[in-house]
């Protein structure tokens, strides 16, 4: 379980997170939604310890990740797979080597075993044939899928997705959504999806948490989201054209 308590973060005097509370239960898929610049990605980076909070506490399986050593934090991070907004594939390595990288670094697997796992992961994201290609030879959507294969290579317990569908066409976005859904089902992982794409939220999430003005403005299940009469939330959802025509 991941818990965020009273999280505060400012950059150059400008408050981005202003007392955020959040709980993510084992096995659920939570979507963190909110306008661009509302602090969703900042929140996600705190969850994995890439940013240090000004105040507040983040616990992963009961361990306060800001009160432990860097070595211990790195051990905790190995339970996470992260899909960054731009994919963040290592551009000096082929797709195969990108997916193999965490396996070569953190396991004592033989090259044969690594090849087997890499092909399995690339198969999961429906790109078994791109292993030899460099990231620059792949489209944006394909890069994200290879990055997703890399994120799940070590079979993490938690997967964080930062804007997984941003900048993609609707068809590719649907493919990514399906992959996230399938991975959650197949690997039984806890997923946190940072997005402002309501279509994705409705496709993949069990719960949603709405960040507004640096605070957790609303949190609930997708059913509750449908029924909510919170004006700010409804305005955000409408702006995403979800309720248009309802």
């Amino acid at each position: 379980m991941i818990s965020v308590q009273n999280l505060h973060k400012s950059f150059r005097g400008k408050a981005v997170l202003n007392g955020v509370d959040l709980e993510i239960l084992e096995g659920e898929t939570l979507a963190i939604i909110g306008r661009s610049g509302s602090g969703k990605s900042v929140l996600m980076k705190h969850i994995i310890g890439l940013l240090q909070p000004d105040a507040g506490k983040i616990t992963v399986d009961g361990i306060d990740i800001n009160a432990i050593s860097y070595a211990d934090l790195r051990r905790i991070r190995q339970n996470f797979g992260v899909l960054f907004q731009g994919g963040a594939l290592f551009d000096s390595m082929s797709s195969f080597d990108n997916v193999a990288f965490p396996l070569r670094t953190f396991t004592s697997m033989t090259e044969e075993e690594i090849e087997h796992v890499v092909l399995e992961c690339l198969g999961m994201v429906e790109l078994p044939e791109v292993g030899a290609k460099m990231p620059s030879e792949l489209s944006g959507g394909m890069q994200k899928r290879v990055a997703l294969a890399r994120a799940v290579a070590l079979k993490p317990r938690y997967i964080l997705y930062d804007e997984p569908t941003s900048g993609l066409d609707p068809e590719t976005s649907n493919t990514i959504d399906d992959l996230i859904q399938n991975l959650s089902d197949q690997l039984n992982v806890t997923s946190i999806v940072v997005t402002h794409d309501m279509h994705s939220v409705l496709n993949i999430a069990d719960k949603a948490a709405f960040v507004h003005d640096g605070r957790m403005h609303w949190a609930g299940t997708i059913d509750e989201l449908h029924r909510s009469d919170d004006q700010i939330l409804r305005s955000f959802v409408k702006a995403n054209e979800y309720l248009i025509g309802k």
């Binding site: 991070r77 963040a88 290592f90």
Partner: protein, 254 residues
Amino acid sequence: MIQYTKKIILDPVQALGRYSQLLFKAFGAVPEFSTYRKNLWEQMIHVGIDSMPIVMLAAAFSGAVTTVQTSYQLVSPLIPKSIIGSIVVPSMVLELGAVVTGFILAGRVGARIAAELGTMRVTEQIDALEAMGLNSIGYLIVPRVIAGIVMFPVLYVAACFVGIGGGMLVGHLGGFVPMGVFVDGAREFFQPFDPIFGLIKCLVFGFIITSVSCFKGYYTRGGAEGVGKATTEAAVASCVLLLLADLILAATLL
């Protein structure tokens, strides 16, 4: 005025603090070196082997030009021609071999390191390394700095040999000084400490160029503009610090 004072005084102090902090973290990552060993070989090839042709070319011309200019300035029947060898060789060993190599590495390797790490920073590749549970400073910076410290002396030795050889060859072919006389002059004034001093400079220069460039690249902000800025700053800061270190080492060790 306040902003100007901040830029002139506070920013460099702040940068020095962050640089020291980065070095501290890098030293802390040395015990995990076995994880990053493969990366060290790659960096040694980039820093050393790939730089060899341009370093040798520059050294050969430096030696040749020093020979020609020395013979031009000291043309007199009262001065023996062997003086050319006794000036060119210490010049290469004490100064030119290390400084020419340093400037080339600052431009070639320093800029490359800053651009590479800067791009990794702005495209979240460094965050991806960290998120996997890897020590990004250990993985990216330690091998580059070690490669700089190890390969700079190798390049320096090659630069000295090629520079002295180039000077001797041009002196002989141009009719400035016969090879035998050049060698005699070099031997006459040779000080055993000179190459040791040159090697000490190389260790310091190698450390400065790679660590400063890593620092600029690792903390790059912004997009393409930030990468460009970091690359330029890495090359300029490396060159300036290299000259400063050159002066300090000469004043303290010679």
